[in-house]
Symmetry: D4
Subunit: 224 residues, 8 copies
């Protein structure tokens, strides 16, 4: 455990304990705090890149300058910053989205998988209103070790995918839609009440959490 | 308008005004009130059968004796009683269910369509966890003038069906499932927030209302 | 199916399959994505106009310039853009609103009906607090093939209208009112729990969905 | 204030202070407690009848025997017991119900008005699905000093009535209906969000509370 | 009924029918529409002032200029505009608030009472956390014909006041507080579930509706 | 920690760690499991009585026989069983209820305080609809070290009491009332959103939890 | 796909497609339907046992007789019936419960894992109110390939466990507790909003779904 | 009681009555009102500092100038202003936070304790995802008279802490997190439904209220 200023205690033993290093959740922190925590993570756990999620504009804008000596990846749609060289990817996680508006969530998952050293493939806009879109990519999806399925509105896609795959599936409700979509709650409710056995669910818009779970599954495959 | 006892005013002009005769909603009425209202409806609007929905056990058990001179149809799963000869059916409404547990709601729809003189075909247990079940009946479903799709749990089936049909589709959320299924609210939320354009929705378990809407659509077809 | 960039797969077979062409839901897309999708739709499905709903300011402002060679209709209240010549209208859908504030939702319905080649008439501000307003237009409403009724606050108007018409009625809850109006949820609850048989409901503010359903009903009339 | 056993303190000064005597709310009390409290009320405030609402079966069955020397009125639908002679009625409160199933709530209001010495007239089953039923009694309703309107399901009737009367109107949501009716919450939401100015609302099924408010209004008329 | 542009139908017979003239609800209307409707109301119902509630900044700022020949009252806290001479007040309505933050709602009530020709007295900041504040004004409150009690947070004050007055009481939940205050829903729930008989409730922040009800009560007193 | 069967691990160090011994929560356990756990607690922690809360009928009925050699206290209203001699009471906790129906919750608090060796005084039926009831006991309440205030319906009493006492106050929402009382949620919302500073709240009907907190406060007084 | 009566279509290809055979969800089916479906499953997919979950009393009682020639396992707490010989177990899933009352849900998970040929170990009553209970079994839990953590009330245990393990963790909210526990919704909310990265969640009480996900993870390990 | 302008009545006897002086809740007040009330408090209750919570920017910025002759403490994170010399601290309250984002709420608690003359120690970022952080400060926490535990997201920390301390614990749900965190409601639900006996809860983000309760507990210790 590493005290940072008077505002944080970095859990530097987390990777050893849980297989996944501490990650900076930037929401509710000042940009300075986030950048300081990224620097501290790089210094104390140099064997994995430092990742921050839900970064505000200022962090996205200043990250490259703040870490001029390191490779820095900034995804402004996913609102992620990754500092340090990426590990070589192992395994494959299929990341699907029902619509175009679900992409930022899917990209947060992809950025997280990248930082954790897990491979991924992204299949965008394959929602159930036009099933042929899903069927046309199904063989490729089936080749993955695990699938993450992002959907807003009715949240129907994860149920359909779970009924078609042997791999474990994690559904991510997206805050896409209006009225009864209710900020992703309708999608979440549909996924949690799904008729398809084995679908598990993470918080609304939580591409990060789904990716951590998927990376742990790939770790199981590799006997970790 | 016809006063019945001191507890009801039958809207005997409803069929002329709305195309659909008054129907007895038995829930919250005493069995005696329901049977008396059915008798009154038969007497005052003899050109259509009298229908009661959501009947308690006692009404289901006594209806045949109460109307010994008339054909009486009792569906104990749908909890409907129909008194009087059925009109010849016009048009076809496809009634689909996601699972076996949705059947009582679907049968309320069928009994209502029967009473209104609208044809129907029932396709049970074609939910999205095994898509092939739906695809195997799709051609037949497409031949209908309108579709009613009953689903509980994730409520995903109506979205999938709406993406596959030119006919108008009405979704009926069913109070099937537990936890986040929330008595049909998850299914309703998914249908109302659906990504499939043109899907409309009725109250949870309201097979009756969906059937009335479908019958009105068939009426439009026939230039009423 | 047509891949557009790496962010969308246009469902170009949707009209053949469902009677209604793919429509661009602009919310959550960048203005560039929306304009690109409109252009792609015009190119691939030239026999119907391309419609985008829920457009942000930038799309509304730039649409006319972006499609200088085509007729472009922009409705800034409805937030719709329609590119290409409108088809000749068939049938008539009555569109009613309870109050003045419900007009944007009603106009989204009208713009959608226009794009789908379905005729419409708009009756604004006929809510139940002053019933004479509704009664004065009732004969005209009764002449329509189908009615769409938009109401916020108590959502009472669709129930009253359904009790007066033989045509099928679709209620659209509007996010009008405060406190218990709850962003349209009170109106939606009232419509879904309605005492008037046959009323179906779409999502809050979903004038688009109601119009698609109504257009499909007119299609049924015409034997499609 | 009068201590009763170790479980209650009767507010015997309530009538002097608020114009309305203490009333026994029997729900959650044992039958013995309720009967004892009724007896105590008769003894300490002999100038008005003693009223208990929401009585369980046992109280309804035993009340007449328990007060053999007094006039006792038991309404098994309303679940009320009134002990002692009724005062002569003053004023008139119109009590309307949307449907037959709302009658128990309306009768609780009537029993309360009786006990408080306020006149009433009951108009059952005049809901908005068939407006002519309301219009046929409108002149009589207009003659009242105040109106109480009970409605479940969509809760639309109080809004319509408020738009037609000069008298103050109190809406009572009834726990009638299923699904989105939500135990009376849809009706309550519609009434609280009503477009009709001046409608006030009480708790679901609270015929008692509406009657007390109405009786106080009649008291205002009489300069109390 | 008077058509105004293509967006509104003024209910000019409302005062004759309900005792209360049509009032402009400015929320969701353009400033131009609101000003036009105020002008139309002045022209068609010159015997009462024209009132608009929930006015946006622009209407509040421009109202005086728009009606240069008439007395205009603008309350920027209550967000009301009243055009035309006020009628002489009849009766007295006590308007109480639990805290200082509830004042805008209370002033909407007062402005409405002024426009309707009903007298009022305002008692601010007498909430239950310091009961002596209420007790010190109780005698004056008791002199009123009716009381309106505005409270946010716990919504406890209307219950306490109802237990102390013979006059009818209307509670107005205010959207004051945070967290479980839930935009006024906690206060509304407390008022609707109140242990104090006869308290009725209006929508959250609906000072206008409470005032209309109170004015109708004063009208009952005067035999209207 | 003590393993009991294969279904429980008794936390026998809890009293040393938290000042409060392990208590059996009987809900969801079989009667046999509850009785076995009480016996195990008596055996392993003989210096304090063993308490079980939320006991089903069978446990309440059989407890005295099951522990024939020990003093056993059974409160059928509170649904508690206490086995073993009570410690001498220290300090005083005032336990107030708004109404008679709140008594079972208050008695669970009292039984818990008894078992923990904390003194208590019970003041029943002092709710805000008749404030004089509270004021008549106020001096006695003020003498306590801490107050527990149980209230259902509007949950107003804890706010009023907190505004009158220097001692810390814990509010207990009770599942008393109907409709918007919502099983105690309205009362809980009112308490959590209270305008009275320093009021803390426990779960609905959780007299046990309030008592443990109060006992810990008395422990603070005594320098534990 | 195999039609069974007119009420079901068995998805006999599900195991080939998803790795997990069709399972009978007995809730909402008649006992006869459930027993018939179990028999059909045994006949058509003889290589795996047939499992039914959420069985009513009658099925639990009659299953052994109905399949006299086969090994039948009935768990009356878990409400599961398994017909046919169990496959040899592969891998290990740790199943933890916070309290004794969570056991039925945990046992549904264990029965499902048994039927799917996945090994398991059960750790009961290790909730966070006494952390030492968890710490004492931690080494054993860490040896598993995957963990399922069942918790009602505050749902805190899965967050704590996820922070201590490298294996993927699935949380199962249990409908244990009262008031704000809200039938498992508080636990579900806590798990979905967890601060511990990688925790995924299934529906309330859905031990079955968690087990299917865990079995798929073990399948990934084995390169399926 | 002191009238301030026409908008407030200061409860100057509150400290004598409740041990805690009146505090200005600045939300919903104009900056001028807040500053005027602070001045009035200083004048009328000079023996304790005047505190304002939830101050808008303008008050935070101008407070020092407004009270140039007095010590003024402004905490821009906590949004508090304290005017006047702080009393000497008595006792110790441990204030813990689960994460860095919970700090503003914790600092409101600390500022309040400072103003009330109660000592405090702050332990930031000790949430359950890395238990060692909590364990490393446990001995210091155990030395306090009372603990305040602030947590958003899953709200698990207060349950864990309550299981480890003899001192009374107050949980403060923080509006930290997204989706199912629901503005602090998930954390609040977890705390209210906690398995740890004796935890009490205040409103979301209500550091002030928790501090008042804690200060009263310290007062009990000191025999006040």
């Amino acid at each position: 455990m590493a005290q940072v200023g008077d505002f944080a205690r970095l859990d530097v033993g987390r990777r050893r304990r849980t297989g996944v290093p501490e990650v900076v959740y930037a929401d509710g922190k000042t940009p300075q705090q986030t950048l300081q925590l990224l620097a501290e993570l790089r210094r104390r756990t140099p064997d994995s890149p430092a990742l921050a999620t839900r970064c505000p504009e200022e962090v996205l804008r200043e990250a490259a300058d703040a870490f001029a000596d390191e490779p820095v990846r900034v995804d402004t749609r996913a609102r992620t910053v990754t500092v340090g060289p990426l590990p070589a990817p192992r395994g494959t996680v299929a990341v699907l989205t029902a619509g175009t508006s679900d992409l930022p969530v899917a990209r947060e998952a992809v950025a997280t998988l990248d930082a954790l050293g897990t491979g991924s493939r992204l299949f965008a806009d394959v929602g159930v209103a036009g099933l042929s879109r899903l069927l046309s990519v199904l063989a490729e999806v089936r080749a993955a070790d695990c699938a993450i399925v992002v959907a807003g509105m009715d949240g129907a896609l994860p149920s359909v995918v779970t009924g078609l795959l042997a791999a474990p599936v994690v559904g991510v409700p997206a805050s896409v839609g209006y009225g009864f979509a209710d900020g992703g709650r309708a999608a979440a409710g549909a996924m949690l009440a799904s008729c398809a056995p084995g679908l598990t669910v993470v918080n609304i818009d939580n591409g990060f959490g789904a990716a951590v779970h998927a990376a742990k599954i790939v770790g199981v495959r590799d006997g970790e």
